[in-house]
Every structure is written in C-alpha cells, then in structure tokens.
C-alpha cells in the first residue's frame, strides 16, 4: 500500500511498478489529467492546493479501505499539488490483483473516494487571465453555485 501527496511530476511507471507482483494477473491504472476545456471555458492550467496533513491522512485511509474491500495490498495512489498545465497528470491510482474484475473495482473505489473526501482544491486558470475555484461535485466554478446551505 502506498499513498502520497507530492509537489513534483508523477512518475507513472513507478506507480505501476509498485503494484506489480508475480501473483497479480491484472493491473489497472487511472490517470487524472488537466483538461483544456471545462464547462465551455478554455483552461490554460490548474493550481492544486490542499489541507495537506489531512489530505495525506484521508488518502492513506482510502488506500487501506480499498485494500480491505478489494482483498489486495497492491494499491498505490499519488496526487500532485501546485501549478499544472494542460495535459499534465494530477493523480495516478494503480491496483494490482490476481483477478481483473477486482482490479477494476478497487481502482474505481480509490478514485471515487478520493474525489469525495480528500481535502484538495483546484483553481482553474482561463485563457482570459481569470481564475476560479472549481467544485468537483458540479465541475462548475464555485461562483456559479448559489449559497443555499449544506453542500453535502
């Protein structure tokens, strides 16, 4: 099991390596990359920030849960912070498992929980020079959200 919040480009090959064992017939990798367009706005880059100590803790919990549910210790995740340009990788999740169905499900679990719980935020930078914090739940810039109370 491995989880880390990093400030440098993610080494995808190294993440895959972490889950490769001779007992595993399958490995599934998920990569999140910076998209050029979000909700019709042209993006030049994204700035990721976090409540770092808590993010590390949540990420480690998710990996533990995934390992328990998926019945494999070969779960690895790395999330990058800082300024990323379009096409760069912000997150990599890898799962190795003797069976492919479980590898897919476990990788998906990590991705979904990460997006739901880990205190990381992103601010998109647009071609017109503006920047906006983005809500993952809606994919919309937060200023388009109405303040109607509990967000959960």
């Amino acid at each position: 099991m491995y989880s880390s919040i990093v400030d440098h480009p993610i080494d995808v090959a190294a993440i895959i390596e972490r889950v490769g064992r001779a007992a595993n017939g399958a490995a599934v990798l998920f990569l999140g990359n910076v998209r050029e367009v979000n909700e019709g706005l042209e993006v030049t880059g994204i700035e990721y920030t976090a409540y770092r100590s808590m993010a590390e803790r949540e990420l480690a919990s998710i990996v533990e849960e995934a390992a328990a549910v998926g019945d494999t210790n070969d779960v690895a995740v790395e999330h990058r912070l800082g300024e990323l340009v379009v096409g760069e990788c912000s997150v990599a999740v890898a799962v190795g498992h003797p069976h492919r169905g479980r590898a897919f499900e476990t990788a998906r679990y990590v991705v979904e929980e990460l997006k739901r719980r880990v205190p990381i935020w992103k601010r998109e930078h647009y071609v017109d020079g503006t920047r906006e914090w983005v809500s993952a739940a809606t994919s919309k810039p937060e200023t388009q959200l109405v303040d109607i109370g509990d967000e959960r």
């Binding site: 999140g32 409540y51 205190p119 935020w121 809500s135 993952a136 739940a137 937060e142 967000e151």
Partner: protein, 80 residues
C-alpha cells in the same frame, strides 16, 4: 479556551485569512465557530453549513470543541 480555525481555497479568499486563533467559551461547538467566522468573512462565499474537520477528521456541526482543537472549514473538495 482557544481553537485554531483553518480556511482554505475559496473560503480563505472569502474571509481574507487562512488561519484564525479564536477565543471561544467552554462547551462551544463547531456551529458556534462557523457563526463567528461568518461574522468576519464574506457570507455569500462562505455557506451557512460548510463541511468541517476537527483535528484532521470530518466532524458534525454539533461537535463540542476542546482547548487547542484545530477546526478546518472545508470547501467542496476537487481533487483528482
């Protein structure tokens, strides 16, 4: 007693600060802290019921605080 309030991302922008040392009464809850912060900040960007973590773990707004607790107001997360 004193608690430390952490603000991040859009909430830090709305309030104009990322850390606030807050003097609160004994028995104060997360809800009380949120109300105090809303008086300081820009209410249109700080919702009435933000998600909160106490000492790095998600907590309910009824949670009673202790001296030295770290209370983080968590904007909608957007990792990945």
């Amino acid at each position: 007693m004193t608690v430390t309030v952490l603000l991040f991302a859009s909430y830090a922008e709305a309030v104009g600060r990322s850390t606030i040392e807050l003097e609160v009464e004994s028995g104060a809850t997360v809800r009380d802290v949120i109300d105090r912060i809303r008086e300081i900040g820009n209410a249109t960007r700080l919702p009435p019921t933000p998600m909160v973590a106490v000492n790095e773990q998600y907590a309910s707004r009824d949670r009673e605080l202790r001296h030295g607790d770290e209370v983080a107001l968590i904007p909608p997360v957007a990792g990945g």
